[in-house]
């Protein structure tokens, strides 16, 4: 009796499906003119727009139909399975054992999953960042490798155990599960073991972190090069110190159209501060990146150097690091002549967050000196005028002075 009922319901189901298919078709067909006409009525549309609209609705309708078709196929497969199962039962055979099927799928999933993970690791793993281009970055990468080895070992072991247990211990009426409420020894082992491994990682990580964030220049070490990067919606501004190697003070209240960073010219260190479009860094020299934000939080992210720190309005931060590989060298290593180091924003900051890019070039010391000599000071003539400073006189005088200063600098170094 039940059997007959199912056959019947199958018919009903297919009827319903056909009904829905044709129904959707009709609906779509009706929608087209219906939707096009009001826009024509408004008088601002041409036949092309109407065509577009109808194309759009047919496109969407096509996908909806495909999905409905898929649903119908699934429903039919389901019904066939049910009918098959019931006929088996009528013939006195055992009913379909879903436990066995699921257990088998678990095993198949495990095998495919393992292969997929392997594929992902090799193919997508090779698309990740190149080697660290900074001194501390190498340490971070080492720690990353250690952590990866440990966690991936645990990952593969636990997932394999999970899915093989599922397959191995699938339900059987003949068997009872093994009553095992607890085992203190084994529980102690798997509390203490992870604790020990994690302690190693913590200690290792803690000291690396301390080292990276240690801000004082070591004794005898050459003073770090100060560079200021200021984030605002939606760009970065760079400021290099002039010959005095000191950045002048900044006060946000001084920001005007001509003094975008609010540089305080009461501070004499400000006078020779330079403006740059691209961030040039001398290789193998410690750089102290002074990070500021003007409006909202940004994040100064330079992934190739393993450098990231948020730029917070009202809280100037800094990150000290030493670039070790020049851009030219990295291009050779990667065999990619267009490679550039980048600085970009990594904290949601507004609509154009996705396009706050600054190119970073690591160059040799000599190239760096050449480049810095060409940069223009922030103190432009327009700004001088605004500040009521003499305009014409010092400007030409400053240029030769600057060059001599640079020469002297180069000699000193």
């Amino acid at each position: 009796m039940g059997f007959k009922k199912f056959i019947k319901s199958k018919k009903i189901l297919s009827l319903l499906a056909v009904f829905m298919l044709t129904g959707t078709n009709l609906l779509m067909a009706q929608t087209n003119p219906g939707l096009a006409s009001p826009s024509q009525g408004a008088g601002n549309s041409t036949a092309a727009v109407a065509d577009d609209k109808s194309a759009m609705w047919t496109g969407a309708g096509y996908y909806v139909l495909l999905f409905l078709l898929l649903c119908v196929v699934i429903a039919i497969v389901g019904k066939i399975l049910k009918v098959y199962d019931l006929t088996r039962q009528i013939q006195g055979k055992k009913e379909l054992n879903w436990n066995n099927l699921m257990a088998a799928i678990c095993l198949v999933f495990l095998l495919f999953g393992l292969y997929g993970a392997y594929w992902s690791f090799t193919v997508q793993g090779s698309m990740t960042l190149p080697e660290a281009a900074s001194a501390h970055g190498v340490k971070i990468d080492e720690m990353f490798t250690v952590t990866t080895v440990i966690t991936m070992f645990v990952f593969f072991v636990t997932q394999i155990l999970l899915f093989t247990f599922l397959f191995r211990y699938k339900h059987s009426d003949k068997r009872r599960a093994f009553f095992l409420p607890h085992n203190n020894t084994i529980e102690k082992i798997w509390t203490i073991l992870p604790a020990m491994v994690l302690t190693i990682l913590v200690v290792f990580g803690f000291f690396t972190w301390q080292e990276i964030t240690n801000s004082a220049d070591a004794k005898g070490e050459r003073a770090s090069l100060n560079i200021e990067v200021t984030g605002h919606q939606f760009a970065w501004e760079l400021r290099y110190p002039g010959k005095d190697l000191k950045l002048g003070a900044v006060n946000y209240k001084l920001v005007t159209g001509s003094n975008l960073l609010g540089i305080d010219y009461k501070d004499r260190n400000s006078f020779d501060d330079l403006r740059a479009d691209t961030m040039y860094l001398p290789v193998n020299r410690s750089v102290r990146l002074n990070i500021r934000a003007q409006d909202v939080i940004h994040s100064c992210y330079m992934p190739h150097f393993r450098v990231q720190l948020n730029a917070v309005p009202g809280l100037p931060t800094f990150f000290k690091f030493t670039p070790t590989i020049t851009t030219a060298d990295m291009r050779n290593r990667l065999n990619n002549p267009d490679f550039e180091y980048l600085l970009y924003c990594n904290k949601i900051c507004g609509g154009i967050h996705y396009n706050m890019k600054k190119v970073v070039r690591v160059v040799t010391e000599a190239e760096y000196q050449q480049w810095i000599a060409k940069q223009k000071p922030y103190l432009t003539d327009a700004l001088r005028k605004d500040l009521g400073m003499p305009v014409a006189a010092p400007a030409p005088a400053a240029t030769p002075k600057d060059t001599t200063a640079n020469k002297r600098l180069a000699l000193n170094n």
């Binding site: 969407a60 698309m127 966690t151 009872r176 093994f178 529980e187 803690f206 980048l342 949601i348 507004g350």
Partner: protein, 626 residues
Amino acid sequence: MSTLAVHDHGVVHHEEGHEHHHDTFITKYIFSQDHKMIAKQFLITGITMAVIAMTLSILFRIQLAYPDKAFPLLETLLGRFAPGGRLDPNFYLSLVTIHGTIMVFFVLTAGLSGTFSNLLIPLQVGARDMASPFMNMLSYWFFFLACVIMLSSFFVQKGPASGGWTVYPPLSALPKAMPGSEMGMTLWLASMICFVASSLMGGINYVSTVLNMRTKGMDLWKMPLTIWAFFLTAVLGVLSFPVLVAGVVLLIFDRSMGTSFYLSDIVLNGKVMPFEGGSPILFEHLFWFLGHPEVYIVIMPAMGISSEIMSVNSRKPIFGYHAMVYSLIGITVLSFIVWGHHMFVTGMNPFLGGVFMITTLIIAVPSAVKTFNWLATLWRGNIRFKPAMLFAIGMVSFFISGGLTGIFLGNAALDINLHDTYFVVAHFHLVMGSAAIFGMLAGVYHWFPKMFGRMMDEKLGFLHFWLTFIGAYLVFFPMHFMGLDGVPRRYYAFTEFESMKQWLSVNTFITWAAIMSALAQVAFLYNFITSIFWGKKATQNPWEANTLEWTTPVEHLHGNWPGEIPTVYRWPYDYSKPGAEHDYILQTTPLSETMSSNLPHDFEDNPIGLEEHTKWVNTHSNQEVK
């Protein structure tokens, strides 16, 4: 004997109850104070919100997969938010923000805890209802109000909040900083306050019910792990949610009253703002003081539900019940002192970062214990693959995969380069997104017969599980590698960066995997809705489980048990006990009825019982010898 008495009494009581209150449609389905109905209200609202949030995610996934393509349909549907058929960058951020907010708070906090705490706490501890049914009702209606306010922000001119679900000021505090920070942000804040009110009222109720209203014999160590999980979750929520309100209220002051709690030194669009002396870091501290416990609020109920379901369907006691409880307690305590790991690179004092790193990695220990215990529960079990069981297993698998990457992110030094990249997105979508939603779905499949008195279709459940499980891995596994390439999250498009273009094909793949998983949910929704009305009628104890909820009649009644509330004599995990008649023994079965299967362990605090037991064992073995 005792069951007979209970039955008689029940009939009388039932009739009495009928006379006393006449349920109208409104008191029964809308302003209901019955915990079972409120649970259903939470569940259905939660599912609705989940579908909405999922649709939002598909919208922004389409943008990521086809950044250069126009979809005229989007313009028709979204109007000015998708001019020319392409999502507006600001609206993209709104989608991301509201997807996150809805999923974290409305689905995985209220939808998960709200549903199952309400349903199971009274049923599993043996109470007639919550400690305060009226407050329970209020809790749902505040939640509903919060949902409505949150969704209404799609209908304001500048669109919903768009500063990310973490709403860091100054972006969220300055209405001019982005369109979503105007009216949309105000609505977000209002909605969140209602939400916290709801969650507090719920939480206080759960805590007091568990502490005060357990039935006779139900001591703390006889509670199922679900109850432990809900209880500790509620404690977490009660202690941490008020901090969010504090943070949110100060943000409202900054937005509307000109205070400077979070703001200082700001020049917006060339205009110097008058704010001075505040710190955005303060908000981050307040936010994450809730925000981190919040992820455990999300995952702990899923852990409890999975533990229970895995034990029932492996026909085996949960391995290391005490260890499971202590690890839950450990997680609860530790979760309050790890929030700083979200802030390693915010400019917070690096020494503080070091400390938070230590506490963070410690929390991995109880998590590891739980994982191993689940594996041990499956070992030598007799595993029935019900849909609920599959989802519980999926939860474990996701918890492992996503939990392990937490060891990378909890390490301050590694976090420098991984922070806010797709690695993070992959990590939390696996460990708290997928794992928690799988816990929730497992719960729905398992307790559906209890909620609606009918069974869900198993085969559709299988289909739903495999498509979702595989889909979630396909979506989130590749994202790890994008993160390792330094691809930031919350980017509208990766077209502006030459180096990120290599991920375009991966993005397209992820989007299609996401669409597949989303469509798989149709199988669930169809199954869920049709089963409510036309599903096979459920029996009283369809899964042959031990816990109290399966001793209640299938037909719901206000007060849960006709007659006396049952007394509890044993822990909830006596499955496949050697010597027992069946492979399960209800919690209400006294030890005296199961002499053949009692173990010395059952009489730990009961010397008289132990004596009886030894006597029985001696005579029994003597007889066997003879």
